[in-house]
Amino acid sequence: MSQTAAAARYVGQSVKRLEDPRLVTGHGRYVDDIVLPGMLHAAFGRSDLARATITRLDTSAAEALDGVHAVYTGADLNSYNDSLRASLHPPESPAPPANMLADGDVRFVGDPYVMVVAQSRYIAEDALDLVEVEFEPLDPVVDYETAAESDHHVHPELGGNLAHDLPVPNPATDEAFANAAYTITETWHQHRQTNVPMETRGIVASWQPHAGVMEVWASTQSPHELQLVGARVLGIGEHKMVVHFGDVGGGFGQKMFLGREDMAVLVVAKLLGSPVKWIEDRRENLLASNHARIEQMTVKMAVGEDGSFLAADLDQLEDDGAYPLGGPATPGAMATMLYPGPYRMGPVSWRARTVYTNTCGRGAYRGPWQMESVAREQMIDRVAREIGMDPLELRRRNVLTPDDLPYQVSTGLLYETTISPKQTLEQAAEMIGYDEFRAEQAQAREEGRYLGLGMALYIEPTSMGMGPLGTESAMLRVEVDGHVNVFMGTGSHGQSLETTMAQLVADELGVRPEDVTLHQGHGSGYGFGTGGSRSAVIAGSAARAAASGVREKVVAIAAHLMEASADDLEVGDGVISVKGTPAASMTMAQVAATAYQNSDALPPGTEAGLEHTARYKAPPTTHSNACHICTCELDPGTGKITLLRYVVSEDCGVLINPMVVDGQIAGGVVQGIGGVLYEHAVYDASGNPLASTFLDYLVPTAAEVPELECGHVVVPSDTPGGHKGTGEGGAIGAPPAVFNAVADALAPFGAYPNRQPLDPNAVLSLIASASDE
């Protein structure tokens, strides 16, 4: 960090977003807006069966249709398969065959087995209707709880459905359980949900023969993953893979990795030599992009007489579906390791398993291992109920306080001194008016009304500094007229990076945010893109460092030209002036013009030009933390849950743009609300998806969500700007907070929910079965 940086003028301000003028007027440029001469349109034919052998596939009628350019099957494309591994997936670990198109058999409803390329999407879909295909149905593996034992194998190549089994026993827990006053066990279930970016996936690929260049426009969170893996698929160098990054309509993890369809489009664009566009439609997106949160964790907790947490034993099982997006990773292992969260938990033993099923593949969804918070926070409320202690009091007794820090967690994590769970717990309790609410709740119960309160406290590992995720770069150039272009490996798709990175650069370099343009994709240096709550800390630190490098040079040049001492100069809003003597000044444009166009006037030995590239390597983790509390009312006649208030107290360190932080939290919270109360990507027992449209997959609307109240505790992290990641947290805290609120409202009925969604149907049947007992 530069010691001479101007005082923060823009960081910390709710600067209005630079991306907005084009987006609010309809002038954004998303992938579907790209039109190239001769561009053709792709559509995929997809399986209607969960598991089946393809006994006949005849594409001749489809090929004969006017306007159809080509029809491909697995046999045509799958020779490219060896190169499909995502960057995060280690080459040595077993993986399902990464077929672009199903070949010989289909393995989930939505599995693509044929691809048509035609004059228009309308004609491509007409051709799909003409593809003649026959299937021999096979027994599908649908239930992930029994998948590991099933004789039917999702991927016969792998010889079984168990993808991962990671047992981590810990003998120290035995003693703790033996001495515990209470041992409480429950299995917590999440259910199948999906990311639902409002813009579906999509890609346009254009091959330039002889040049050997593939030019791509895509809806992606990670243009460099696309560049790297795409080049590998095509057998070209990364220097011939040009990835343009435009506006991206959300992703939430879904657009971190290439899908099978993306790769097929790349290959086909090269085979055909014409530009090819594929825009996923909403049904494809709901059935075949990625699903998430299909998991359960059995938790056994040892608790002392006074409510202290003594030990935990965890058993996590997750459904990977057939083709997990980005490879068969093991978020379950992370979920168990992170289980202790912001508490003194004692020793923990765990096991984490993942299985394949004949369903849509699992992929990252905002807070991909948030099961740790779901299971823990729901468990804590259960413990409170079992031992007859108020849930806030129980958390107060176990939460880590500043005196406990730094803190070595028994599972191997190390918490730095800059976390603040105790402070956020207290701030949130204060914001909601905890004691007043409890009084109101008691009063309401006397009137036959059922109110509930739920809270969730968590610590989130953000900006993980390992492997391909560890670094980001920024190449910053002050142009001849003094305006700034900065090229970064990020993939902003709603995170406002064009504004927040500009704020960081503005302060560090001494210009105005609107003088800075962020360029992503082609021309930027390698980075893993935007996801995993990593851009503020990792990319932000790179942007700062690049700006600071240029600033030093600006000051040196100005000092030389103004015959002043560099120490006496300050830079702000594009003006370099002598401290205390504002009249003695020159502009960034003057310095830049000298640097490029009159380099003889530069101080001796100074290289011409005004640019600097910096790469930042992040520490292993930067933890952020938050507490969510919400209240609800339950209608026992209809089972309808109405959320009343929702408060969040969070610590993401130094806020770059408070409005943007609150926005990130709100978006995540509403996804969490959706997950617990509305959304369910449900399959029937034969593996047929029942929520294939927006009439069945219920994304919450404005009418279902309460006003969000956000409080901030600011403990700066040790990273250069003092920031911590905040992109995912909302979606981590909300599910257990909402779940706990509903469980609290259900308590008077004697009901003990342990699975979601808590839709009206589930709520009424919980009440009914509790009263039957």
């Binding site: 309308y122 879909e125 007409d126 006649g637 209809t638 449900v682 609307t701 009418a703 009206p760």
Partner: protein, 294 residues
């Protein structure tokens, strides 16, 4: 998600519409607001060789006064029904039910005829039509006929309107007595089709005794249904004597729910009964205030 090709027809008179329907039979489909038909076409869940657009047939639009009641042209937009003062005045249940249909953008295109002809069992207008004994006016190449609501809804998505027929208008009579009306439903989200709902009209004699009861239910059967047990239990009671929650429970007997992703048979029965009770209470409260005011 793009529709299959079709031939497009934009007739301007009912005579031309029924001529086209007669000519093309099962291959033709009328297009009203398109808010149900076009999604089905886009997803290729259904397809027709001929689409007969009703949007340029002026005679199908508008609300007219009819013998103390009203007649509503099939192509009258739901938004127009919502704001029409004659509707609010003479058939309050239609007015009360309309805001529950989808969202304002849907109601700007969606038509009352489309809702009734589509006959989704979870839809609002069919339940109101059934409760109020509305009458459908139907045209075909061989002339006009009428179908009373009780005979109109044959099974899920199936009505008395044959493929070569056109629903032209819906007639409702006004209640010429002290009366109260209420409508409510439970839906998963704002604007969604109902999981269960009820449309209730209560009429009394001058002494405040119930002599007319109309209870329509949506979402609790293969078609919209009437809660005849509830209606029977109400007749002859003084409004102040009726225990709506108690009487509402009787509605469960009149239901024949179908379970789906959103709610089970058992749920629809329970929540449906609760709603009938609550809507009944609101309707009764309406009568009381009217009597009080009058």
């Amino acid at each position: 998600m793009k529709p299959a090709p079709f031939e497009y027809h934009a007739p301007e008179t009912v005579a031309d519409v029924v001529g086209l329907l007669a000519e093309h039979g099962d291959d033709a489909k009328p297009l009203a607001g398109g808010q149900s038909l076009v999604p089905l076409l886009a997803m290729r869940l259904t397809r027709f060789e001929h689409i007969v657009d009703l949007n340029r047939v002026d005679e199908l639009f508008g609300v007219s006064l009819d013998n103390g009641g009203i007649s509503i042209g099939a192509m009258t937009r739901q938004a127009a029904v919502e704001t029409d003062t004659a509707v609010a005045d003479r058939v309050p249940l239609l007015h009360l039910a309309t805001p529950h249909i989808g969202h304002f953008q849907i109601r700007n295109r969606g038509t009352i005829g489309g809702s009734i002809a589509h006959a989704d069992p979870a839809s609002e207008y069919p339940a109101v039509m059934l409760a109020l004994d509305g009458v459908a006016e139907i045209a075909s190449a061989s002339g006009f006929r009428e179908a009373p609501a009780a005979e109109f809804f044959e099974s899920t998505f199936m009505t008395a309107v044959a493929p070569d027929e056109l629903l032209v208008a819906l007639r409702f009579s006004a209640w010429d007595q002290p009366a109260g009306f209420a409508f409510d439903e439970i839906a998963r989200r704002s604007g969604d089709f109902a999981l269960a709902g009820a449309a209730v009209g209560i009429g009394t004699d001058a002494a405040g005794r119930i002599n007319r009861a109309a209870v329509g239910m949506l979402g609790v059967g293969p078609t919209p249904l009437r809660a005849s047990s509830v209606e029977a239990a109400l007749m002859g009671l003084a409004t102040s004597d009726a225990d709506p929650a108690e009487i509402g429970r009787l509605a469960a007997e009149d239901m024949d729910p179908i379970g789906d992703v959103h709610a089970s048979v058992e749920y629809r029965r329970r929540a449906g009964s609760t709603l009938v009770g609550r809507v009944l209470a609101n309707a009764l409260a309406q009568v009381n205030t009217e009597a009080g005011n009058g």
